[in-house]
Symmetry: D2
Subunit: 353 residues, 4 copies
């Protein structure tokens, strides 16, 4: 099933949900072989003993991270919590490996802003400028040649893909954008916290981080990047919510039309913007997306509508937070970096029902 | 447990979820005895055979609806789909019974507007003006003497209670209000529809009715009722979503401050507005509500905040759609109508976890 | 709502799920007032800040446990993990307080057996013999005068109530009993363990502890207690499973009839055995129990049947693990100990849907 | 992605969950192209409009079933409710198409027994003997040349694979077998029934059909087929339960050892029995299976243990009811019939988390 000249990949911090999702996708990728997976805490443990779904598909054992060994690989994925990748990065950047960081460490270009929101000193501020923000729908060309990819967050991916056509064309008031988003519990990672117990999350719904969530500056940076010059910079009100589901992000976006009497055909605008994107699906007019329609797939499905023909545009955008919101997008970046078919290993149908 | 002079109550259409919820609450109400429960489809069936939770608590049998019999009761609840109550109402209004209609039939004062959104001719338009909209936090005085109560819908209750302090005080732009709301599946009723199967709803999330939901005109009517005169009438963008939970509504409300430099203490404003309301709980600053904190209870819990100190106010409002959003509110109305303690039968602690 | 001469109650270890469930039940109990609730970890925290469902109902603050203070109360509940109650017990037994221990510390009379299964030295072995096993359906008389109650575990309650009529009457082979049971996730308590995350438990099902679960010796002790003398002692195969629900235990019990040709009317047998039990409901023949029919209630619902008229009897038994399986049963014990109506504070209807 | 000489496949009754699951698997199968999918009710509807997960992967439209057209295909799958396939079968058996029936119509060789349990006259009793029961782990050779495959039910697959090694070797009392099984809600199909609503199934658990489920005779037939001759025929007590999950079957099997003093190494027995089976995974001793470890995959995972070293053997067996329990097994049969790699199109990793 694998090609003749597969590249070698490593995963740093593979015990979390983005790690097992990378393994699920890479195990069947025709051009890649995962040869190293690291975890300080689980060194010596067989991957398949921790993730029984991988039995018979992955025969690796977790090992201690070793920069020399990682540096000989073609590509290294960081599936670590924020604050980890930046410590290994200076050494790893000296090696031949290309790096795809799924954490937040290199997403925000303004280091001071990063340090404020993440409440710590950045460990490799000099490398931030070298990182390419890995949203292919915006940065495909830069990704091709990147040494270091900062893979976007889950909420940022769903929100940016939903807003892009409106902002690129300056159709809405950029200072009153709203992203009302909801995420499945896997977004909080595989950590033993009371807040994420089934008994706490199940059969309930709540907002969290409404006063200020770390994805806010990342989203605003991304939205501002696509605005025409000379426009007031995007200001977003971002309220995330916790869904009693495992996978899925649903972003409900609101924006006010600058001129409600002179609005282009929004459906056509969105369809054209994403016509050549393999992983953005603009639904036919009248259909609304559901998170289950992308469960386990790398697709983002979007609907745009204008209720009551009033001044407020509503955009609905869904992704799987572990796939297009993390590991799938990382693989998409890898495909672009190494010249593979962009859909290689990602042409998966969502699991429905 | 019951008092000496209990009133007699009947329930029309008791097989649905609002019916069983009325029974759950009224069975333990100290001042009321349910003596009649009707269902054409289930006539002859024991209530406890349909709802095993009621075994040992309710010993009634479903019967065919009979206006003469209902008219001799003190209070009659309609727990029917829209379009049913209006047919029995002309006859029932001639009897001594006071009536609490949980359906949408008498909520909207503009009959033409009702007929447009509900897509049918109204069966008793002459009675619409006599109905009191049963939101105690706004209409308590009128409820006291009402013959016919139109009990508010679930989304309208959560949304109105969240917006009232802002609109009463004309603090926000009334023409750009947003209610991003999510409901548990019990809101769709106990009907055998594919869309509500566990295999369709579970482990997923979606918006629905985004182009126009029947609760929109009801909410806008309620919001306009509390605006000071001379103000542009409230215009709402309302996007409901379907949660994979049984009970609970979570409304995330957004409004733009008219003067971001001259904003009163919003926390204090909300606390004062609801200080004497037995079923509205304004959370301490910094706490956010969760639907499970009101599961099975008649409470509405609200938080208000202003993220990043910008111009957008966010209000979070949660209720149990079957309790404060339907049957609990109906009992609250009954308590007010008959001079009982407003909390009688409703002083229940939410089931958590 | 409270009576004139309420007793004073304390709860040791009130931060877990059995603690909040005790508060939910006792807050509305007419004869009891909770005046102390302890937690070393949360001392100083308002109970309602941890459990928002209790806002407006409970105005207590967690405090450090203090035996002197606890000893002045009428009743003290231990809602602690196993191993804690036994340390405070020697001192507390010297006070006037009567004690209801919801943990496993005093359930097993054979101290060596306890120490083997719980893998620790017992801290108060001399008190074990004084404890009364608090299953009212078996030990009501002894409970009346008990100083110390060992409240049964959740699986043991569901399993024993299901098997009792068969074993008391020596109708089945006692050496081949099977309890295939399933519990909601709240049974694992409110602890930050990865195994209990929504992302791990939800949308899945598994057995656990099949090789040997700590409730096995407790169940076998209880079953043997009700066997006629001279019979081979009960041997149980017990396989617990983890359900992706919050509350509820469902035990599916299997036993082989000793004489398949001479079997009494099992439905009548069960109905008679439990005719006077306020919290055991034998369903009509043909109905099967569901956990939701007891959610939040203290009821145990049971069905008995004999498929294909073969030699295997099947008994289905459901309870809410936090209510009849823990805190509700504790309150039932308290009611019996203090001569209250056995249903006081427990006459609650399950939350359905 | 498809091979050069793909076979052509049709699906009759493709609107249900087994239909969409067939499409998910066949869309990526390298040797097959689905060219026809029928549904009387949905004729003219695009498949992807009903199943948004298939957008971009399947471009078919539902059509009326047409035997002439179906007969020209290489393989026809029936994903219909029982009672449908038998009507089209006499005509279809005259064509060149080979047929894989996922329904119960041809599973039971004793037509009278089928008619009793399915409560209807069989429409093609003369064809029953020609059907091969499509459990590859038992009937691989016969499947190779079969014209008509009767694909096993979901409970029967999980139960038979769990019991086979014990029965083939006559290690347990065949007259006291127990299968305590639980299924996700998708097993009930995509039908608008109240019993399967999220509000009815979620956050609850119950047994159903305990007095007699249609899969009982199918399982007993399968178990008896593998018993050595001269042994008392297998008698099973089968109690199915409904899980609040979408996909997954978990069977907990109990059997009594004939000679508890002379038991082979059960772990080794199971590992050897299934050593060459691509879709049966015997877990290492000490590990227990979970349904999520096979979600979306065709794998059956099994554990065998003997608690307390007593006479009762416990076997735990999990499958995805829609994959190995239905559509995946159908594809596995097809692979065998047409000489493809048995894993073609089925080498999928379960979606975890």
């Amino acid at each position: 099933m694998k090609g003749l000249h597969v590249i070698k990949a490593g995963i740093v911090g593979g015990t979390g949900y983005t790690g097992v999702e990378l393994l699920r996708l890479l195990a069947k990728h025709p051009e890649v072989e995962v040869t190293v997976i690291t975890s300080r805490a689980e060194a010596g443990v067989k991957v398949a003993d921790m993730y029984p779904s991988l039995r018979g598909h992955i025969d690796l054992v977790f090992t201690e991270p070793d920069v020399a060994l990682l540096g000989e690989l073609d590509v290294v994925f960081f599936a670590t919590p924020h604050g980890v990748a930046q410590n290994l990065m200076p050494a790893l950047m000296q090696t031949k490996a290309r790096i795809i960081d799924l954490s937040a460490d290199f997403r925000i270009r303004d280091v001071a802003l990063w340090e404020k929101w993440y409440n710590q000193v950045h460990g490799a501020p000099e490398l931030v400028a070298q990182a390419v923000y890995g949203l292919p729908e915006v940065n495909r060309a830069a990704i091709t040649t990147a040494k270091l990819i900062a893979c976007p967050g889950c909420y940022p991916t769903a929100t940016q893909l939903g807003f892009l056509p409106l902002l690129e064309n300056n159709l809405v008031d950029p200072t009153h954008l709203i992203s009302n988003a909801a995420s499945g519990a896997s977004g909080a990672g595989r950590q033993g916290k009371i807040d994420n117990l089934l008994s706490e999350v199940s059969d309930s719904f709540k907002a969290y981080g409404a006063a200020g969530h770390r994805h806010l500056p990342e989203i605003e940076q991304g939205l501002r990047d696509v605005q025409p010059s000379g426009i007031a910079p995007a200001l977003l009100t971002f309220v995330p919510h916790l869904l009693p589901i495992i996978r899925g992000i649903h972003a409900t976006l609101y924006a006010t039309l600058l001129d409600a009497n002179k609005v282009p055909d929004l459906q056509a605008l969105y369809e054209q913007r994403y016509a050549n994107e393999p992983f953005v699906d603009v639904l036919p007019a009248g259909q609304l997306p559901q998170t289950r329609s992308v469960k386990g797939s790398n697709m983002c499905r979007i609907a745009v509508l204008r209720p009551q023909n009033r001044a407020t545009v509503v955009v609905l955008s869904v992704i799987d937070n572990l796939t297009k919101g993390a590991s799938g997008q990382a693989v998409q970046n890898m495909n672009i970096m190494f010249g593979f078919d962009e859909k290689a290993g990602l042409d998966v149908i969502a699991l429905l029902p």
